[in-house]
Amino acid sequence: MAERKAQMLSGNEACALAAVAAGCRFFAGYPITPSSEIGEVLSYLLPRNGGRFIQMEDEIASMGAIIGASLCGVKSLTATSGPGFSLKQENIGYAAMAEIPCVIVNVMRGGPSTGVPTQPAQADFQQARWGRHGDHPIIVIAPATVTGAYELTVRAFNLSEKYRTPVVLLLDEVVGHMREKVEITAPEDLEVVNREKPGMPPEEYLPYSHSGTDLNPMPAFGDGYRYHVTGLAHDETGFPTNNTREIDLQYRRLNRKLHRYRDDILQVRKMETDDARIGIVAYGSTARTARHTVKAARSEGIPVGLLQPVTVWPFPDEEIRDFGKQVSHLIVPEMSLGQFAREVERVAGCHAEIVRVNRVDGEPITPKEIITAVREVA
């Protein structure tokens, strides 16, 4: 293992550095607080590393541009926040439908509408999953720290390349703007995944085959495969179809794809869960706060444990259900009015009592607010 380099970084800066380390060579974006630093850093870093950066006319265009670049075999990123994330949705759906790898960073702020631009929130949790029309899968991952932002940016690219899917990296303003020391993995120790290219001759290549692994290799435009990419329902060859059987097969494969590789995609972190009688479920910067709560409550002799979904979509149903079976209460702190808790309730509501701790005033949840909820049920 090469030596890890320590650097003082904000979450947004870490994200930009990690993108380059993961092999990203194209960024298209439109400025918006609190995500703008990602584009700013990449406007400098990408051309230094042989990549290109463009500030587009809006977020819709940015999302389109990164899909276009990805089709040429170039790993691509865009970054935004609430209002911009809403604008990107139609083209994120396109990337899901046509199975084009790309990474979208959404640094969450308060909403709806212009909301609270400079303050944290976790209120895009459901939009990240369901912002598009139609049935489709998506991967959403959420770091809690600056180091997490670095590592998960690399992971976001790896997952998108491996599963040919858009991946949303859900930061919140706290993670995006907080500065802390990050130990950066040396490039030679970093696991970087590149999409599989087809080995078969073009006439045998099926970009959307629904037999086999549910995953298909993907050539770059210019590699000689000359295939067709569309957001219309398509058959295995990629061309539009009205055949009900073909449409059904395609939608089912698309929606099965990520489920099938759930074990590889899902990541949860646990803290003191083994003997816990009271559970906390939290993600993003709120999970970091909850870690303090666990320590404090344990020192008072309260058997509390924390489960932190790192992959938030697909939702870790089984892990949270099992945790719910083991405890009397699940405390769910979040900077939203229950978007996350409703999923916890769905999977574990019949096993444990769900206690919601919500904050939407633009301030992060404090350890005190969580421990108060813990003491009330202890």
Partner: protein
């Protein structure tokens, strides 16, 4: 010389979706003649479109083809060009796709002067969705959402692109098919943003709503209302109402976006 169109077509994808009498096929043939004369390699062409009858074109041609979302073809194409500048990136789009929902991308790509060739199939109407009015529907004309006639001022797509900064701008009608392929050829050759407006009849929606007759009649009408740009310069605005000005509006050598990026930004960043 006769062009062997089948060389560029995905013959198994026919019959196409276009109505009989639709002008879009004529524009496609002009595009293929231009590509043939330029001897472009099929592997090096990326054809990008939005949504609409015209935007179905990429499905029929044997290139790298990308059928995107409504209005966004130029945005996707920008990413393609920046990722692989060696590609010939051709955008095919409708008047609604390019100038309504996609109008912002059109003017900004022209402003940047990025090396794309954009062919706008202008039939004055939203063909695919059943003939609603578009930003190019002429004043007084009818559409399924304009039962009493259009009161809006239409865009002049060529003036729009030229003013926004395009390097090459030209217009011809489906009737002047040979002129059209010359313009497209010139547009592809021209480094920078090229826009060719191809006036294309839609007998099914626009023609029917305005009692303009079948495709052949509409083609003849395109011929009769066309005025060469050199003649148009001598005419008054009143005389030009209802006329289609045909010709080259702009053809200038001006710095192209990706070349400038590499020459100035990438070079500076690597020195820094």
């Amino acid at each position: 010389m006769l062009t062997d169109y089948t060389k560029y077509l995905r013959m198994t994808k026919f019959p196409h979706i276009w109505c009989s009498g639709c002008g879009h096929g004529i524009v496609l043939k002009a595009l293929l003649r231009a590509i043939d004369r330029l001897e472009l390699r099929k592997d090096n062409i990326v054809m990008v479109s939005g949504i609409g009858c015209s935007s179905r074109t990429p499905g029929y041609v044997d290139f790298n083809t990308l059928h995107t979302t409504h209005g966004r073809a130029i945005a996707f194409a920008t990413g393609v060009k920046m990722a692989k500048p060696e590609m010939n990136v051709i955008v095919v789009t409708g008047d609604g796709d390019a100038t309504a929902i996609g109008g912002n991308h059109l003017i900004h790509a022209a402003r940047r002067n990025i090396d794309l060739t954009v062919v706008v199939f202008n039939n004055y109407i939203y063909g695919m969705t059943g003939g609603q009015g578009s930003p190019t529907t002429p004043r007084g004309m009818k559409a399924s959402t304009l039962p009493f006639g259009n009161i809006e001022q239409p865009f002049d797509v060529c003036h729009l692109a030229a003013a926004a900064g395009a390097a090459y701008v030209a217009r011809a009608t489906a009737y002047q098919a040979r002129l059209l392929d010359k313009f497209i050829e010139r547009g592809i050759r021209r480094k920078g943003f090229a826009l060719i407006e191809a006036m294309s009849p839609c007998p099914t929606s626009y023609g029917r709503k305005n009692r303009l007759g079948d495709g052949a009649t509409m083609l003849r009408q395109l011929k009769e209302t066309s005025v060469k740009i050199t003649e148009a310069e001598k005419m008054t605005p009143e005389e030009l109402v209802d006329k289609i000005v045909v010709g080259t509006f702009k053809d200038v050598d001006t710095p192209e976006y990706v070349e400038e990026y590499d020459r100035l930004i990438m070079a500076a960043a690597q020195r820094a």
